[in-house]
C-alpha cells in the first residue's frame, strides 16, 4: 500500500539539470573572465610621464622653421634675372651709327662687321657666361642658405633638447632636494618633545648649518615662535636627529649646507 513512488522524480531530475546548465552557462558566458592585459601595460607607461612631452615640444619647432625658407628662395631668382636685361640693351645702339658711316670702304665695313659680329658673339658669350655664373651663384646662395637654415634648425633642436634635459635634471634635483628637506624635517619632528603649554600654532624658523655626513654644525634661531620652550625643544630635536638624511653621492650637498627650516607645533608634515 505504501510503496507509492514519490511524484515527479524524472521531472525533478530534468529541472535540476536545467538549473546547473543555467548556472554554468552564466559562469562561462555571463562573466567576462578575460583580463585585459594592455590596460596594465598602459598604466606602467604612465609612470614615466616626464619624457613624453619631449617630442611634442620639439616636433612643432622644425615645422614652423621649415615653412619659412620656402617663400624666401622664390623671390630671389626672380630679382636676379632682371639685372642682365639692361646689359643687353646697352650694346645695341652702339653698332648702328657705325654702320651708317661706312660707305667708302667695303672691306673695312666687312672687317668692321666681322669684328662687330665677333664682338657681339663675344658679348653674347660673355653675357651667357655671366648669366650662367649668376644662376650658379644664385643656386649656390640658395644651397648655402638652405644649409645654414638646416644647421640652424639642428642647433635649435639640440638646444631645445639640451634645455629640456637640463630642465629635467634640475627638476629632478629640485625634487630630491625638496624630498630630502621634507625627510629632514620629518626626522627632526620625530624628536621634538612638545611642551604642554603651546597656544595657537606659532612658527619657529631656524638656520641649520650641516656637514657632509649629515652632522649639524650650527643651529641658529632666526625667528622665534614666541614660545621659548618650543624653540628650545626644536633646537634639541635638531641636535638629536643627527645624522640627518642627505641624498647619496654628495653632489647635491651644496643645497643642504645652509638649511632654512620652519617648524610649527601642530602641522602634520
Amino acid at each position: 500500500m505504501h510503496d507509492r513512488e514519490e511524484p515527479g522524480k524524472f521531472s525533478a531530475g530534468v529541472l535540476a539539470v536545467i538549473v546547473h546548465v543555467l548556472f554554468f552557462g552564466l559562469l562561462i558566458f555571463g562573466v567576462n573572465w578575460h583580463t585585459k592585459q594592455p590596460e596594465a601595460v598602459e598604466a606602467e607607461l604612465w609612470s614615466s610621464l616626464p619624457p613624453v612631452p619631449k617630442p611634442r615640444a620639439v616636433a612643432p619647432q622644425p615645422k614652423r622653421v621649415k615653412q619659412e625658407p620656402k617663400p624666401k628662395p622664390e623671390p630671389e631668382p626672380k630679382q636676379e634675372p632682371v639685372k642682365p636685361k639692361p646689359v643687353k640693351q646697352e650694346p645695341k645702339p652702339e653698332p648702328k651709327p657705325k654702320v651708317a658711316k661706312a660707305d667708302i670702304e667695303l672691306k673695312q665695313k666687312e672687317q668692321k662687321r666681322r669684328e662687330e659680329e665677333k664682338r657681339k658673339e663675344e658679348e653674347r658669350k660673355k653675357e651667357q657666361t655671366l648669366k650662367r655664373k649668376q644662376q650658379a651663384d644664385a643656386l649656390k646662395q640658395l644651397l648655402q642658405q638652405q644649409q645654414t637654415m638646416e644647421a640652424e634648425l639642428l642647433r635649435q633642436q639640440q638646444l631645445a633638447l639640451q634645455q629640456q634635459l637640463q630642465a629635467q635634471q634640475s627638476a629632478a634635483q629640485a625634487r630630491t632636494v625638496s624630498d630630502y628637506k621634507s625627510r629632514i624635517r620629518a626626522k627632526i619632528k620625530r624628536y621634538v618633545i612638545l611642551p604642554p603649554d603651546i597656544q595657537g600654532n606659532p612658527q619657529a624658523e631656524f638656520d641649520v648649518t650641516l656637514l657632509p655626513g649629515g652632522d649639524v654644525l650650527d643651529v641658529k634661531l632666526t625667528r622665534s615662535s614666541g614660545n621659548a620652550a618650543y624653540d628650545e625643544a626644536v633646537k634639541r630635536a635638531i641636535y638629536k636627529a643627527v645624522p640627518l638624511p642627505l641624498p647619496p653621492g654628495g653632489e647635491l650637498f651644496s643645497a643642504f649646507r645652509e638649511l632654512h627650516l620652519q617648524f610649527r607645533p601642530k602641522d602634520d608634515n
Binding site: 500500500m1 505504501h2 507509492r4 514519490e6 511524484p7 515527479g8 522524480k9 521531472s11 525533478a12 531530475g13 529541472l15 535540476a16 539539470v17 538549473v19 546547473h20 548556472f23 554554468f24 559562469l27 562561462i28 562573466v31 573572465w33 578575460h34 583580463t35 592585459q37
Partner: protein
C-alpha cells in the same frame, strides 16, 4: 605562468590541482542531488497539500464515512496522507467495533493508535531527504573553503620559486581556488533556503494531520456511541 592569462572558467577548472578538481566534483554532485531533492520535495509537498485539501473538502462536505472509507481503500486513485490516516483509523475502528465485549474507550484507543502509526509513517515520508538538504547547506561551504585553501596554498607555494613576485603569478591560482568557494556557496545557498522552507511546510502539514486526527476520532467516538 605566462603574462597573458586566459582566465576562462573552463581553463581555470582544467588547470586546477587534483584536490581542487575533486572538491569541485564533489560539490557539483552534492549540488545536483540537492537540487534534485529540492524539486522532488517541491512536487511531493505540493501534492500532499493538494490531496489534503481535497480530502478535507470531501470529509467535511457531509459525505458518509463508510463511502469515504471504501473510496480510500479501493486504491483506484493515489491517496493522500490524510486519507490514509483516515483509512487506517476507520479500518481499526470497524475491526474493534465488531469484536464483542469491547469498551468504547478501548475502541477509541485502538483507533487513535492506528491513526498515529500511519501519521508517523506519513511524516517520515514527507521529511525524507530534508536532512540531506540540511547537510549540504551546512557542509558544502566548508568543502568549498577547503578547496580554496588548498588552491591558495598551491598558488603561494609556486610563488616561492619566483624571484620577482607579482600579483599576476598568484592571480590564476587564487581565481581557480575561489571557484571552489563559489561552487560550495552555489550548492549551499539553495539547499539552506529549501531546507528552511520545506521544514516549515512539513510542520504545517503535520499540524493539519494532527488536528484532523483529533477531529476524526471525535466523530468516530460519536458514531460508536450512537
Amino acid at each position: 605562468m605566462g603574462v597573458s592569462q586566459n582566465l576562462s572558467f573552463i581553463s581555470l577548472v582544467a588547470n586546477a590541482s587534483v584536490v581542487v578538481q575533486l572538491v569541485l566534483l564533489l560539490l557539483l554532485a552534492s549540488s545536483f542531488v540537492s537540487w534534485w531533492y529540492i524539486f522532488l520535495k517541491l512536487f511531493s509537498l505540493k501534492q500532499a497539500v493538494r490531496q489534503s485539501d481535497g480530502f478535507e473538502r470531501d470529509f467535511w462536505g457531509g459525505a458518509d464515512l463508510n463511502t469515504l472509507y471504501q473510496h480510500a481503500s479501493s486504491g483506484r486513485h493515489s491517496t493522500g496522507g490524510m486519507e490514509r490516516i483516515f483509512e487506517a483509523g476507520f479500518r481499526e475502528f470497524l475491526k474493534l467495533k465488531r469484536q464483542p465485549g469491547m469498551d468504547i474507550s478501548a475502541v477509541m484507543e485502538g483507533t487513535r493508535r492506528a491513526m498515529r502509526a500511519t501519521y508517523h509513517r506519513e511524516m517520515d515520508r514527507l521529511e525524507a531527504h530534508l536532512s540531506f538538504l540540511a547537510t549540504v547547506g551546512s557542509v558544502s561551504p566548508y568543502v568549498g573553503l577547503f578547496g580554496t585553501v588548498w588552491g591558495i596554498m598551491n598558488a603561494f607555494r609556486g610563488l616561492s620559486n619566483v624571484v620577482q613576485a607579482t600579483l599576476a603569478h598568484v592571480a590564476p591560482g587564487i581565481a581557480e581556488a575561489l571557484v571552489a568557494t563559489a561552487m560550495g556557496l552555489f550548492a549551499a545557498i539553495p539547499a539552506v533556503v529549501a531546507y528552511n522552507r520545506y521544514t516549515h511546510d512539513v510542520d504545517r502539514i503535520a499540524i493539519r494531520f494532527e488536528s484532523f486526527m483529533e477531529e476524526c476520532s471525535n466523530i468516530l467516538q460519536r458514531q460508536a456511541g450512537s
